[in-house]
Subunit: 451 residues, 2 copies
């Protein structure tokens, strides 16, 4: 018994010593302890030994692990002032403190969520891929928190005849461009290290050529020319979903409708396909296609429809993207995407073929094709789609990880931004016949799910 106690004592002592050594190692040899987790971080640490501490290159190395962003203190006119006018145009009462105003719900709310995120305290932002800095000299990137999408819809769609609109989006856009062009940090790199949200496809249309060097956060490139927006320079944002998220588990038992669509029947450009699809589908018994406008009532009906349907139709709108895709995803209603030029958010981490069915426009218009193709999909396959939808759903809930994921996408642009800034400054000015561009091209070898 005494021997056993002695052994236990010895074991305890050994454990304590091992623990102490391990603790010592963890604290005083921190970089090595992290090496399995982040080689870039280690690279940074190791390089400190060979570069003097005042080196600007060490600062540059750190960008890999921590991107520093400066939030412009924009005049209220471009932020809370827009909310104020939106409220006034809808009969709201003038507010004493504009910063107490609530941003109104609509489908392009990224501008609000990103702004609010950057104004949170540092301790609340410790998980963010971007660190806010108060000194612009320390910043890698500059965030311009103009509410460009809200600005577009401030005035009510139907205004009283003869009554002047309360607000001019165009004037505000021009004023913003002028304000930016007067800023030292904008002039320094012609805005290339600036980040601006333009999630409504028509946002900033009046001044887009004056801000096109910046990283634009957009819904698609439907209204942008090749030199104004690209996957390489910009970031695709998800719309703010407008229907309720589906809370129950995956399953097809309570989804009696094969295919559901509710939205505007008549649209311009790529959206012309909608009326043709209505004609093809409106007489199919297990298909629900309904014309509907944006209203609380329609949203409730759409929410219900998407929750009891296996597939949700996502045709192009006036531009290739539409809010409905994100409504479908959070409803676990498998999206059927008929929009040949659509761009999709976070596509570096999400393989959309796992959560959606892509159908080429010309194929979708063949009579009988869509419904027979969808009816042939087994319940097991639908469950697989639903399981994947459930896994990625959190990417599209602005309340949770969406904002961090957007910042991660922005942060990933930094090396190329820094390269182009350095390169632009030492480049010989030439009169090229075509612009000096670096491109990444699709090799058009994809296999279409519907083919």
């Amino acid at each position: 018994m005494a021997r056993k106690a002695s052994l236990a004592k010895k074991s305890l002592a050994t454990v304590c010593v091992v623990f102490a050594i391990y603790a010592f190692f963890n604290i005083f040899n921190f970089p090595s302890a992290t090496s399995k987790l982040d080689p870039n971080l280690l690279l940074d640490f190791s390089d400190r030994t060979s570069i003097s501490s005042s080196s600007s290159y060490r600062k540059n190395l750190q960008i890999v692990t921590s991107v520093k962003i400066y939030l412009y203190d924009l005049p209220h006119r471009f932020t809370y002032g827009v909310i104020r006018y939106h409220s006034l145009a809808r009969g709201g009462r003038p507010a004493d403190d504009v910063t107490a105003l609530n941003y109104p719900g609509h489908q392009h709310m990224a501008e609000w969520h990103l702004f609010k995120d950057l104004t949170r305290s540092d301790s609340d932002r410790s998980e963010s891929p971007v660190t806010r800095v108060s000194d612009p000299d320390e910043a890698d990137l500059f965030y311009v928190p103009f509410f460009s999408s809200l600005s577009l819809i401030v005035n009510p769609i139907r205004s009283e005849p003869g009554v002047e609109p309360v607000y001019s989006d165009e004037e505000t856009q021009v004023a913003l461009a002028e304000w930016l062009e007067a800023q030292e940090y904008w002039k320094r790199n012609n805005g290339r290290d600036h980040v601006i949200v333009a999630s409504d496809p028509n946002a900033l249309y009046k001044v887009i050529d004056r801000v096109k060097n910046s990283v634009l956060l957009v819904s698609d490139f439907g209204r942008l020319k090749k030199d104004q927006g690209s996957l390489v320079k910009d970031v695709i944002l998800p719309y703010s979903h407008r229907v309720n998220s589906y809370k129950d588990d995956v399953g097809v038992g309570n989804r009696g409708t094969l295919l559901f669509f509710m939205g505007a029947r008549y649209r311009k450009e790529g959206g012309k396909i909608r009326n043709l699809l209505f004609q093809l589908l409106e007489n199919e018994e297990d298909v629900v296609v309904k014309h509907g406008a944006q209203s609380r009532e329609s949203r409730r009906a759409a929410s219900h429809g998407m929750h009891i349907s296996k597939f949700c139709l996502n045709p192009a709108g006036d531009t290739p993207s539409a809010c409905r895709l994100f409504d479908s995803i959070v409803s676990l209603c498998v999206p059927v995407i008929i929009s040949d030029d659509i761009e999709l958010p976070f596509e570096d981490v999400i393989d959309y073929r796992k959560i959606a069915i892509f159908v080429e426009s010309t194929v979708a218009l063949k009579p009988g094709y869509l419904v027979s193709m969808l009816r042939a999909i087994s319940d097991e396959r639908i469950l697989e789609y639903q399981k994947e939808l459930k896994e990625v759903k959190h990417y599209f809930e602005y309340g949770s990880s969406t904002v961090n994921e957007i910042w991660r996408q922005v942060a990933q642009k930094l090396p190329l931004i820094k390269l182009m800034i350095n390169r632009d400054k030492r480049l010989v000015k030439t009169n090229l016949n075509e612009p000096d561009c670096s491109c990444l091209c699709s090799n058009q070898t994809g296999i279409l799910a519907s083919a």
Copy 2:
């Protein structure tokens, strides 16, 4: 005295307790301990709680912090076999064990350093931005270790008349392309996630269109078309410097020559400027311009010349880049770059205007311009250039951090590679009149140092 001892005891006890708490925190709350250093890492950890552990999206999130690379076990023909033929063509004796052969010194040795780096043990590679994996299914990227630049120079420049060359670079290139195209992981994404070195501007010329989807590690884009290479898709490598690194401190006292150049006087294309510069400069008393070919003797002379000169001339060669720039940098001889289309390695972290002087070709050819411009630069300014050169020198010493820096540049391409792979697969095939490309364009607003 007793009180003092007691106080010391108490202080020691407090320090011990604080240490124990800190140790405990460091070991059992590891992610939080790193939060100040790497937000992306934390994002990854925090997301684990909301995603099931089997999720493939979790794996994707990790790419930010650790890029996994698979080293192809290429047939020896493409690696050590090339060294063997290079040796045989120079009268070497056949080797029993080809893997014991030494890679010969020349200016495009990145292919050797990267290959050797990936074959080091995991513990020796703990600081690398890329982690080697043995299972290709786990890999984000695939490294193809063909010695493409050595392959180009295997046969001696002057072969005996009537004697067949011992080796065919073209046949080896074609055999490599065939081998790759038979690989499952190549076929999966048409090589888009593959990494291939082609640092000699003529390397792989015969099969470049078959490997152009890959990340090419190149010296410049002089021999590549717009759809074959770009700053967005590819990585610019430094040449292996061929003169000795300057070991002494910064200073102008022992640098009596104003401007130094030694190299081929006659070159094709952009390099035609060399002969014109010779004519302008060869009679200036404090300028040394000498014709010289690649040899041990010339390298020794060039090394000496660069170490005793303030400025080193870097005109374009047959293509915009040349080894001499990197010789100048490690010699702390301020580079004077006259090559309008040059691309520079690691330009996201190095602002080359701090270490070099860029002169537009047409300006450099104005009689008297170059020497009077250089003579007007103060010793203080030259010292500033030298200090910056000394800080970045390690980027160009293949023995130290260059390899890790190349891997970091490669790793930064991954998000865009993943995006394009996912996007290509769900894209509707179309017959576009022009290729579907995403571009980043220079805004040509740079201010030229010489202007």
